[in-house]
């Protein structure tokens, strides 16, 4: 307060027009009595920056040149380790993939979203939805995506959708482990299919008993199987599970009251190796074919018995990095979108109109005018995301299960492991200095930009 009072008396003493301000950075800084005050204003910031940011940089630089214990000078050995240690090399490669892929995908999506939402009336709502993940922690996002990527298609939405799409195009089987029992009228036909040993006749009901489907995977709606009725003009039959838990097979190769049919079982009538007719079993396992099938062999094609498709192993060794990058893009595409949308607002409309009048298509306008005009913004977004991705830690720490963490490893995670789990401070310091070196160009670029802006004032 004393300082303030003293200050209060001085304004008149200042040279007119030479007041302190950004327009005259180096002019008249010679009022001795004032010189302590700026220092007081800056002191807390400078102390904290010195102790918490600058000192660690120096310390890491030095520490990276010493061995594990910190006693012996080892020169650049720790840095050599970065390019020889298999674990670190994996991390390095993954970091490279991250830096190349994640910012590009997020920026591209951001650009598409920004351009498309400009017109739509509820564009703001859309932007909010896409931008929202930026507000939550990477930990929460990690847990969210652990759920998304759950391997079990009954639990993880990614595999649920994937399996759904897959099964639309390639029907999955309902009876994965069904097979003929004792004294079966069926024999293996190769490739997992089964075929009747003898040709079937119209008017003589066919029995196709199988065993081996666990009760809990039996299709819902399976009804008790009954012996097929004879129809002189058709080939009829029944296919069922010739076994009941607790009651055994009952009468072999004949449906008992407790045994259920195989709904949806596909049956092919084959003559001379050619399929002449197909049928699908009803809930009680009964099926019926026209007289075309008379004299044919009945085949149960292998697709009835294939293991059900279980989707992709998102968090397995080969897909884990793309999967985690997906989570990152979910978080950061909104960032790119918002910055690009702000840049888009500054694009002169006349230019676009002129191009359209000249007959340019919308794609050409976008490709040749909008994107080049947005280039500076796109550059800033890309660089920002690259710096961000370089340091990616939380998502890689959280999403991959322990078994896949080595495959998903990145430099920041490796630094954490080396520094805090494996007691390798020398190598950890080398990784941190390496990360710092990678952002130095950006540092330099920022400083240069600010200096130029200062000069233009």
């Amino acid at each position: 307060m004393a300082v303030t009072k003293e200050e209060g008396g001085t304004p008149a003493a200042r040279p007119a027009g030479g007041a302190p301000g950004r327009r005259s950075p180096r002019g008249g800084a010679s009022r001795g009595r004032r010189s302590a005050l700026p220092f007081l204003f800056l002191l807390p910031a400078l102390v904290l920056l010195g102790a918490l940011v600058l000192y660690p940089i120096g310390y890491s630089l030095l520490r990276s040149l010493f061995d594990r214990t910190g006693d012996e000078f080892v020169g650049f050995d720790n840095y050599a380790e970065l390019f020889t240690d298999d674990g670190i090399l994996t991390a390095l490669t993954n970091n490279l993939i991250w830096v190349v892929v994640a910012p590009a995908v997020a920026t591209a999506l951001g650009l598409v979203f920004a351009v498309l939402t400009e017109r739509v009336r509820w564009g703001t709502a859309f932007k909010l939805v896409v931008f929202m993940p930026m507000a939550i922690s990477m930990l929460a996002a990690g847990i969210i995506f652990r759920l998304v990527y759950d391997q079990d298609p009954d639990k993880g939405i990614a595999n649920a959708v994937w399996v759904g799409v897959h099964d639309t195009f390639a029907e999955s089987s309902a009876f994965p482990k069904a097979h003929p029992g004792r004294d079966s009228p069926l024999e293996a036909a190769g490739g997992g299919a089964f075929v009747t040993a003898d040709p079937v006749r119209a008017g003589t009901p066919v029995s196709i008993p199988l065993v081996g489907v666990a009760p809990d995977v039996m299709p819902e709606g399976a009804a008790p199987a009954r012996p097929a009725k004879a129809d002189p003009d058709r080939v009829t039959g029944v296919t069922w599970q010739d076994f009941t838990r607790g009651k055994g097979v009952g009468t072999l190769n004949e449906p008992d009251a407790t045994e259920v049919g195989y709904p949806g079982m596909r049956i092919e009538a084959v003559k001379d190796g050619k399929v002449v007719e197909t049928a699908t079993a009803a809930p009680d396992g009964s099926f019926s074919l026209s007289s075309e099938a008379d004299g044919a062999l009945l085949r149960l094609p292998a697709e009835n018995f294939r293991q059900p498709y279980n989707g992709l192993e998102w968090l397995g060794p080969s897909l884990v990095t793309p999967a985690v990058i997906g989570a990152y893009v979910w978080m950061w595409a909104g960032f790119a979108m918002v910055l690009i949308a702000a840049g888009l607002a500054g694009v002169p409309r006349e230019l676009l109109e002129a191009a359209r009048v000249d007959g340019a298509t919308e794609w050409q306008v976008f490709r040749r005018i909008t994107v080049p005009l947005l280039a500076p913004v796109l550059g800033v977004v890309l660089v920002t995301l690259m710096i961000n991705v370089l340091k990616i830690f939380d998502l890689v720490f959280i999403i991959p299960p322990g078994s896949a963490q080595d495959d998903a490893n990145v430099l920041a995670l490796e630094l954490y492991r080396k520094g805090f789990a494996e007691d390798q401070p020398g190598v950890a310091s080398a990784i941190s200095v390496f990360l710092l070196l990678l952002v130095v160009p950006v540092m330099w670029f920022n400083v240069r930009r600010i200096r130029q802006e200062g000069r233009q004032r």
């Binding site: 910031a45 939405i157 322990g402 200062g454």
Partner: protein, 303 residues
């Protein structure tokens, strides 16, 4: 009072139509077929929402249901939703304690950065001292320094100072690494304040401290708010710094949950509601202060 820091942000989330311009996308949209674009955006929007909805619904299911089926099954039987997991969670001292720790870390770390950053920002904008611009450039250069560089050295330093494992240590670290951006943002904003206002106050006999508290800080409100919200979310959402510097008594919610992730399948009844609780405050802050948040993010595009 407008500034370069807030104008682009203010427009970023406002539809073009309301800004009274010919929207750039309009021709593009009609060219591609408006319906198709709308459909695409709806699908993408739902796609973007789905993971979060999945977490929310998962947190509202019993562990037994979670072990058996996907969260989407409750869409057809909403009666199976239950607050069971939340009730259990609130009885879990580790989780509630860590939520309190998150607050105890975030609030001081935000206030300190704002106050210390504003003091320095004012000095860089309106005070004179030798080498001012060089000092400022030096601070700007530090914006992109990765926190990873400081983890080991500061862990040792805090160990020597007895700060390791304490909330104070975590707060200090966040303050240090929040400062370069804070100084940069506030200095630029303060520098836009019309010189006449400061001159007038000086003529009225106001000293530097008075100028700072009565003129610069009130006028710098928007920038201070942006910075505060940005820093608040940054610290609230941090896991790495607290993972290194906090111990089990001072750990925030992110670290407390992280310890449970290794048994993901078995702990989903803790993880899902815990993660959602940890998101409630950031999401509330985000929806309440979108503009300030956006302008903070945009100014921070260099961080």
């Amino acid at each position: 009072m407008t500034s370069t820091a807030t104008t682009p942000a203010a427009t970023a989330l406002v539809p073009a139509a309301r800004r009274g311009r010919t929207p750039l996308g309009s021709r593009l949209v009609s060219g591609l077929g408006g319906t198709l674009v709308r459909l695409f955006l709806v699908v993408v929007g739902l796609f973007w929402l789905m993971p979060t909805v999945g977490l929310l619904l998962s947190s509202l299911r019993s562990p037994r249901d979670m072990a058996e089926s996907g969260w989407w099954t409750v869409l057809t039987e909403p009666s199976r939703l239950t607050f069971e997991s939340y009730a259990d969670l609130l009885g879990n001292g580790d989780i509630t304690g860590s939520l309190v720790n998150t607050l105890l870390i975030t609030v001081p770390a935000t206030l300190l950065v704002v106050v210390i950053g504003a003091l320095a920002g004012y000095a860089f904008a309106w005070m004179e001292f030798p080498g001012r611009d060089w000092w400022f450039l030096g601070v700007v250069g530090l914006i992109v320094v990765p926190v990873q560089v400081a983890l080991l050295p500061i862990a040792e330093l805090f160990g020597d100072l007895g700060l390791f494992g304490s909330i104070a240590g975590v707060v200090l670290f966040h303050t240090g690494f929040g400062l370069p951006f804070a100084v940069f943002l506030l200095r630029n904003f303060f520098a836009e304040i019309p010189r006449e206002l400061l001159e007038a106050a000086r003529l009225d006999g106001a000293g530097e401290l008075r100028l700072f508290t009565r003129v610069v800080l009130p006028l710098g409100g928007p920038a201070v708010a942006s910075l505060g919200i940005f820093q608040f979310l940054w610290v609230w959402n941090d896991m790495l710094v607290a993972l290194v510097f906090a111990d089990s008594g001072s750990q925030p919610i992110t670290v407390a949950l992280q310890t449970q992730v290794r048994q993901f399948g078995n702990n989903i009844d803790v993880l899902a509601p815990g993660a959602f609780l940890s998101m409630v405050i950031p999401l509330a802050v985000f929806f309440a202060f979108q503009r300030q948040f956006v302008s903070g993010v945009m100014a921070g595009a260099v961080k």
